[in-house]
Amino acid sequence: MGQAIQAAEAVGAGTPPLLSIESVSVELPTRRGPLRAVDGVSLSLAAGRTLGIVGESGSGKTMLSRAVAQLLPASACLSGRVRFDGQDLTALSPQALRRLRGRAFAFVFQDPMTSLNPVLTVGGQITETLKEHLGLDGAAAVRRAIELLAQVGIPNPEQRLKQYPHQFSGGMRQRVAIAIALSCEPKLLIADEPTTALDVTVQAQILDLLAREQRRRHMAMILITHDLAVVAGRTDAVAVMYAGRVVERAPTRTLFRAMRMPYTRALIAAIPKLDAPPHTPLPAISGLPPDPTRPSPGCAFAPRCASADAQCRTAAPPLKAVDVGAHQFACWHPLAGAP
């Protein structure tokens, strides 16, 4: 599977990426001073591929996804460029952006209870999107909505169309949210922690659904999560974020087999493994996640890193590539890498 990916990467290398994030930074004003939620992030994604963005709370992954869709809070300050399908999103007018959203790229959020309107029927919410973006009339929109609900695996779609979100279970609601997101055949789907609020058996179903729909529609997908295990088998490339910056970016297999960033290794090590016997002490990462209102001049992970030295604390390491261009990491003392 790894070789297939590398071959595909080589093939896709010539065509321009569908999504290109160039040095994007997001600053939010807070009571305690400006907060750099995202700091100079550059990523790209080709059509039909899946990018996993992994980070803990405060890493900036959600703000980054909002920045891509230009859905930031009004007080936020965005710098950098976001290019989608050849267009510069940061330069578009609000009307043009609104036309793109839903059509060209769509969102699936973590909590389906708050991302669905509780006072509108599920059918109403799907047809609203269809009428707005595709210009379908009432009857055609309803037919398409029933089709979509069936595609996402909701039984009895004709009846369920008339129900309200609170009448669905968590997993079902997320399916509805996915149906709304897919209704206009977007080229890019951004899923922000789509399964965090769901049970593990339902999680597998939802992730399978996303993967299936992605293959069918040849859609690009960004999967944002804090769970490395979720990205392990379901993404082509993974970007690990810490304190607003991308600290490692690599094709998935390379990341897990030959990670260079100590944070990535520490993160994987801190996850309790199903294979380990009980009462195995976990190698925990000491310290706390950094305070985003007080950025340090050096590497943000230095206070918690076992291999940090004076250089790490004073100068922020740049994200640079080594060997194969696809694996980038930001560390002065990277790990040994592939055995």
Binding site: M1, G2, E56, S57, S169, G170, G171, M172, D199, V200, T201, V202, Q203, A204, Q205, L207, D208, H226, D227, L228, A229, V230, A232, G233, R234, T252, R253, F256, R257, A266, L267, I268, A270, I271, P272, K273, L274, D275, A276, P277, P278, H279, T280, P281, L282, P283, A284, I285, S286, L288, P289
Partner: protein, 343 residues
Amino acid sequence: MRGASDRSRPVAAGNGEAAPLLRVDDLSVDYQAGGNTVYAVSGISFAIARGETLGLVGESGCGKSSLARAILRLVAVSSGRVLFDGVDLTQLGGAPLRQLRRRLQIIFQDPIASLNPRRRIDDIIAEPLLIAGVADKTQRDRRIDDVLTAVGLDPALVRARYAHAFSGGQCQRIAIARALILEPELVVCDEPVSALDVSIRAQIINLLEAMKARYGLTLLFIAHDLAVVKAVSDRVAVMYLGKLCEIAPTEALFQHPAHPYTALLLDAIPRPDPDAPIPASLAVGEPPSPLAPPSGCRFRTRCPRATRRCQEEVPLLREVAPAHLVACHVPLSSAGPEAPRPR
């Protein structure tokens, strides 16, 4: 609906002679929600030996939180008994119950909500001591300092502050300190790390293990994450829709799950390994509502092995291997063709 409890006592791992510290006997918890009855817990029985950690696993709606709160008498028990060190908690009330409460404590899932936002940390941690009647302030202060240091916090930095100044992980440490200051015997941990970041989870898990060793605790560790439960438990119990499916020593449960639901849970867990096979979403549909649980075996609507008997007869906990009990008419056998992949 509620089957007769299985009188064969689940044998505690290792020592069979000592009386268990906690014994739950045919416990049921129902509550009313808008005119309907929610059968949160239906006839559950198990025991925890002194010094043991029992992990309790289940998905949302299975009733594990209701069970935790019922054991501590924080919600009403509809029927059944909870025997703590031989004393039936369901029969106690008023002052005797309050006295006994000091020996059982609980840690909640949401660390920030479990601390009073308008009280200082040292007030919060001193509260159990005040309730227990420790009048001497210097003694209280000393104990507060000791327990804060034990959980890895610097008392000088923490005591004068309020909960909002701390992160989730730190708040959970404070909550653990508060639970431990009276040196209880049993601590119920209700999803203590689910709301925390991955890197902090490992810290708190390690802390709980350390505290267990230091204070000689017995733990009931509730979680929905099987890997986390495996890391801390001596035995694991699996709950589904208010009933106990399986209970076994940890390794036995994970290597040779007997209940189809346990196997399903294990299969569905994603592994942080890109070469591992994609978890199979073998479960059909969603868990039914606890308002109207299915007849017979509650898992039958999603079980790939369900038979007619499963619909008609409620399965009781039976021993299929030493100390390994399962409530199923068609349990998986470790020697059969459906033997789970060795992990």
